[in-house]
């Protein structure tokens, strides 16, 4: 028989949510983590983590798995791959409905819903995912050995991955919507110095074309409005992340970037509802900062419950 009444519901199982789960469960607070995707969140996107204090080198999956096991060891319940279908944060008891059929109740909620990769949202993108379109250079780079590919984006990830992809591809074309890059100068320099990389600036992909697999893209020049077609074997889309906060719109206060607004104790505008990690308004998004947020939120929730 599944249990649905808890002291705290944590929405999200990335480093922030898992850390909060560890702290709360260790303090004997009855806690459940409801996670829409894979436990670990964006952490599992990282193959090698070398700046997590105390651990010289670990892959993201292992770190997340260890955090999950720690939380479970202290008694935290973890449910992954559920769909949050409704939330009600008004009143003393908060409710979260999942999969349109099961309703969890708790005295407090921590939202740690994280973020996800942005998509271009243009025709053909869904159809050719895994058939020429990829969001992970490290995973799929070797499928494009000797081929011509595009990297979309102008941030650190895009330019670093463009350089990494030159190990496999015959040529890499970076398509970026602005006339300048957001990446750090050293990443821009490295990409510009690579003879296999060329750039199409102030341009955007408007459509993916092909039959069984991706064969070409349509690109619009934003200055002239001219649309051209380019034959291509693969496209890597690396245009950053957006917070997973859609389902909280109109329920809790968000800023213009749809990040959750919190105070220094990570309280949202609703009593008993806290937020932590990549879904909140903040400058730096690192595993260490998410872990710190999870800790702060958990300790403040403990204080809230005690009062």
């Amino acid at each position: 028989m599944r249990k649905y009444d808890f002291d705290v519901i944590i929405l999200g199982g990335g480093p922030a949510g898992l850390t909060a789960g560890i702290y709360l469960s260790r303090a004997r607070i009855d806690t459940v983590i409801l996670n829409e995707g894979t436990v670990g969140g964006q952490t599992v996107l990282t193959h090698q983590i070398e700046n997590y204090p105390g651990i010289e080198n670990i892959n993201g999956y292992q770190l997340a798995r260890t955090m999950k096991n720690q939380a479970i060891k202290f008694g935290c319940e973890v449910r992954s791959n559920v769909k949050v279908t409704a939330v009600d944060f008004q009143g003393k008891i908060k409710t979260v409905e999942i999969n349109n059929k099961e309703t969890y109740k708790a005295k407090a909620v921590i939202i740690a819903s994280g973020g996800r990769s942005k998509t271009l949202n243009v025709p053909g993108e869904d159809k050719f995912k895994g058939h020429g379109i990829s969001y992970c250079a490290t995973c799929d780079g070797d499928f494009f050995t000797g081929q011509n590919i595009i990297v979309v984006g102008g941030g650190n990830s895009a330019l670093e991955e463009a350089v990494a992809l030159t190990k496999y591809a015959a040529s890499v074309t970076v398509v970026h919507q602005f006339d300048h890059f957001q990446a750090f100068p050293h990443a821009v320099k490295e990409a510009k110095e690579n003879p296999k990389i060329n750039f199409i600036m102030e341009s955007e992909i408007t459509e993916f074309l092909g039959d069984e697999k991706l064969e070409a893209v349509k690109i619009i020049d934003k200055k002239s409005g001219e649309i051209s077609e380019m034959k291509i074997d693969g496209v890597f889309i690396l245009i950053g992340y957006i917070p997973n906060t859609e389902k909280f719109k109109g329920i809790i206060e968000l800023n213009e970037k749809e990040e959750i607004i919190v105070d220094e104790d990570l309280r949202t505008n609703i009593e008993g509802v806290y937020a932590a990690g990549d879904s909140i308004h903040k400058k730096y998004r690192q595993i260490t900062t998410a872990v710190a947020d999870g800790t702060v939120a958990a300790l403040n929730v403990i204080e809230y419950l005690n009062n």
Partner: protein
């Protein structure tokens, strides 16, 4: 070996044995990458629910993985993992790259019947 709680297929003999002994089989062939891990986790979650389906994984880079890599159904695939669904030993569906819980359960229900 993949770090999952699923049955690991490590040889062609084991692969054939699993197909022979199970009517409904889902095999996810990949690495421990960000597009693969979510699919393994979904399979782990569903294993107790879909008791009429055999769930297994296979490392993409081992020699035996040619049984998946070289399938005609995977010819156009350029994204890991390659996930293949078999009924009575025959491929009934194959997907490339990351999938959601909803996408996986839709295929399982359509091809193998739901868990009820």
């Amino acid at each position: 070996m993949l770090q999952t709680n699923l049955t690991h297929i490590t040889s062609e003999e084991q692969f054939n044995e699993i197909l022979q002994n199970n009517e409904n089989v889902m095999i996810c062939c990949g690495r421990m990458g960000p597009m693969c891990v979510p699919v393994y986790e979904i399979m782990e979650e569903l294993e107790n629910e879909y008791t009429h389906v055999k769930f297994a994984d296979m490392e993409f880079d081992i020699p035996a993985a040619h049984v998946i890599r070289n399938l005609p159904e995977c010819r156009s695939f350029t994204g890991l993992p390659f996930t293949v669904y078999y009924k009575n030993g025959k491929v009934v569906k194959a997907t490339s790259s990351i999938q959601t819980m909803e996408q996986v359960t839709t295929i399982l229900n359509e091809e193998f019947g739901n868990n009820e």
